[in-house]
């Protein structure tokens, strides 16, 4: 179990986003987190990676309690996960390659040439052309920025990757290519993936398990087939709606042999 959440509570003033939320994520799985707007998917992600201190409850990552952990331990743990933000969240004053090099700068005794080569390797691995490495984020399209954000998240070969809406704002072809890329990388790097998404195609293409957030907690977890049997209005509408049916027909993407 790489992530274990018990009794999580998040409040914004009088408004409760999470209350008594429990969730587990296993090693090596791709866990999709879905839910309507405002059900706190991103808040959950931010709570796990430590960008938000929950009002109550316990979060353990790699078996270590995250609440009240000292900064050194936290930093050591943070090196074992990578976060890809919605629009890449690249540093706009750095080139793409320098962006990917940022996490590598924290590694002691790594000479600049090696750092540069490793950054270029990661840029190639996420499917970006190498001449893009010297461009600035503002010059790139949204899809390329997302890939670059992924390259930065993967720079230290993390064990868990958190993806926040990885395919939002991409055209269907770009989104499908991203799904395929993730599938390949999950297999090659042995990643565990915490995936927050709205995109049913991505869910069917990537996820081993799905967690549905509703009514301030995790309403249901299980495989996509399990979800079809859940009797809850939102879950029914989501998975049995026309888009859900279409995504189900296309199914998972085949891992590409390279």
């Amino acid at each position: 179990m790489v992530i274990r959440i018990r009794g999580l509570e998040n409040r914004f003033g009088p408004h409760r986003v999470h209350e008594g939320l429990d969730l587990d994520m296993r090693r090596g799985e791709v866990l999709g987190v879905v839910g309507g707007s405002g059900t706190g998917k991103s808040v959950l992600l931010r709570s796990i990676v430590g960008l938000r201190r929950p009002n109550a409850g316990r979060i353990a990552v790699f078996g270590e309690e995250m609440t009240g952990i000292d900064e050194h331990r936290r930093a050591a743990l943070a090196a074992r996960w990578g976060v890809m933000f919605q629009d890449g969240a690249l540093f706009s004053s750095l080139t793409l390659r320098e962006n990917v090099e940022v996490p590598l700068r924290g590694v002691e005794g790594l000479d600049p040439d090696t750092r540069r080569a490793l950054a270029e390797l990661k840029i190639a691995m996420v499917g970006l052309p190498l001449d893009a490495a010297e461009t600035y984020p503002a010059e790139l399209s949204g899809g390329m920025r997302k890939r670059a954000g992924l390259a930065r998240a993967l720079a230290l070969d993390p064990e868990i990757v958190f993806l926040d809406e990885p395919t939002a704002g991409l055209d269907p072809i770009g989104a499908a290519a991203f799904d395929r890329l993730m599938r390949d990388l999950v297999q090659a790097l042995g990643l565990s993936v915490f995936l927050v998404t709205h995109d049913l195609d991505t869910l069917y293409a990537l996820c081993d398990r799905v967690a549905v957030l509703a009514e301030r907690r995790v309403l249901a977890t299980g495989t996509l087939d399990d979800m079809l049997a859940v009797e809850h209005p939102w879950v029914r509408d989501y998975f049995h709606g026309p888009r859900g049916r279409a995504a189900r027909r296309s199914g998972p993407v085949a891992p590409q042999g390279r």
């Binding site: 790594l110 390797l121 010297e134 070969d157 090659a188 042995g190």
Partner: protein, 370 residues
């Protein structure tokens, strides 16, 4: 991690056990450098427990390096858990052709210089273009007052004019105080204290009042214009206006610059008055020149033309500040960084342009004998 280098029948055999990844990279590279030369060598990975992409990169680049030196390194028995990773890294290394930068030569330096000069030319032409846009929209608004954004004009007059009054008045007051104090110490040895009135009045009315007001307004308002228009540009609001058939120049640029043109002379007048007030107070305290005497001396000794010479510059400064600020805002790209860069460049350019224009005015007034 441990790397064992052995030799079987003259053929080096390297065995890596444990974990090979980013933390062990440099140590592993040093070990690889110790491999003795031989036409063939074997790398045994069967005891490898963990491999990350940096480790895989090292193995493949070292293999390539050894091949160049004439050693054919065979990578044998890759454990199944590491196999996909090695394949992915190999596939991407083949694609990775490092980009080369063009070398820095005299030609590229000359090229850069030429571009900068040309850029300065375009910049001036651009400013002239915005002056043209402003004039055209102003004339259009005069001909057809219905389409004029009056609310916007009043709002900006409050923002750039009324709200700047305290800082401008305080600044000018202190300048008056400083002038009186400095003038007093310089003039007293000659017994010419009374001339401090002329000193204060002429320097504030002709130059300092308006110039310093313009500099403060450039810092306050040029940056505010750039930031406001630039952030609208960044969020495509200006594009949205165009698709809705709202003219961004009439809606954004005209009210802002016009507000500056209207309020900067008033601010200059405020600065003049409060500078004289500061000077008079300091003269009274330091030199014993009573306010009544200061007033008489002021009316008798200082010609009103000095006020005109000072204030006539204000609308010109206002135009410069407004145009520089609005143009910089329209130049903002789609990154937050360009917004910051354009904002600070707007302030620097506006202040610089104001000072240069002031110098040109001095020459002009000297020529016409004012």
């Amino acid at each position: 991690m441990s790397i064992k280098i052995g030799t079987t029948a003259g053929r080096p055999e390297i065995e890596i056990s444990g974990s090979l990844g980013l933390p062990e990279l440099e140590q592993a590279r040093r070990r690889f450098a110790q491999i003795p030369f031989a036409p063939h060598a074997t790398l045994d990975l069967s005891a490898l427990q963990r491999l990350d992409s940096a480790g895989a990169w090292l193995l493949l680049t070292e293999q390539a390096r050894l091949r160049q030196e004439g050693t054919d390194l065979t990578i044998a028995s890759v454990p199944p858990h590491a196999l996909p990773l090695v394949e992915v890294v190999r596939a991407n290394l083949e694609r990775a052709e490092p980009a080369t930068r063009p070398p820095l030569t005299v030609a590229t330096l000359l090229d850069r210089l030429g571009r900068q000069v040309a850029g300065a030319g375009t910049f001036l032409r651009d400013l002239l273009g915005y002056l043209g846009i402003f004039t055209a929209r102003l004339l259009g608004a005069l001909r057809r007052p219905r389409g004029f954004h009056l609310t916007s004009l009043v709002h900006h007059c409050e923002e750039v004019g009324l709200r700047a009054v305290p800082i401008v008045a305080l600044m000018a007051f202190l300048i008056g105080v400083v002038l009186a104090f400095q003038g007093a110490t310089q003039l007293r040895p000659f017994g010419a204290e009374i001339f401090v009135v002329e000193l204060i009045a002429i320097s504030i009315l002709r130059e300092l009042g308006v110039l310093l007001t313009a500099i403060i307004v450039a810092g306050r308002t040029a940056s505010a214009f750039t930031a406001a228009i630039g952030s609208m540009k960044m969020r495509e609001e200006i594009d949205a206006m165009q698709t809705l058939r709202i003219d961004p120049a009439s809606a954004l640029i005209l009210p802002r610059i016009l507000a500056l043109v209207i309020t900067l002379p008033i601010l200059g007048l405020v600065a003049d008055l409060s500078g004289l007030l500061g000077g008079a107070l300091m003269s009274w305290a330091e030199l014993g020149i009573s306010p009544a005497m200061f007033r008489t001396r002021l009316i008798e000794g200082v010609e009103p033309i000095h006020v005109v010479v000072g204030l006539v510059k204000a609308p010109v400064f206002a135009l410069i500040i407004g145009i520089v600020g609005c143009r910089a805002g329209m130049q903002v790209g789609n990154s937050a960084e360009s917004l910051g860069r354009m904002t600070s460049s707007a302030v620097v350019t506006a202040i610089f342009a104001v000072i240069v224009t002031d110098a040109l005015f001095s020459i002009l007034f000297a020529q016409v004998g004012l």
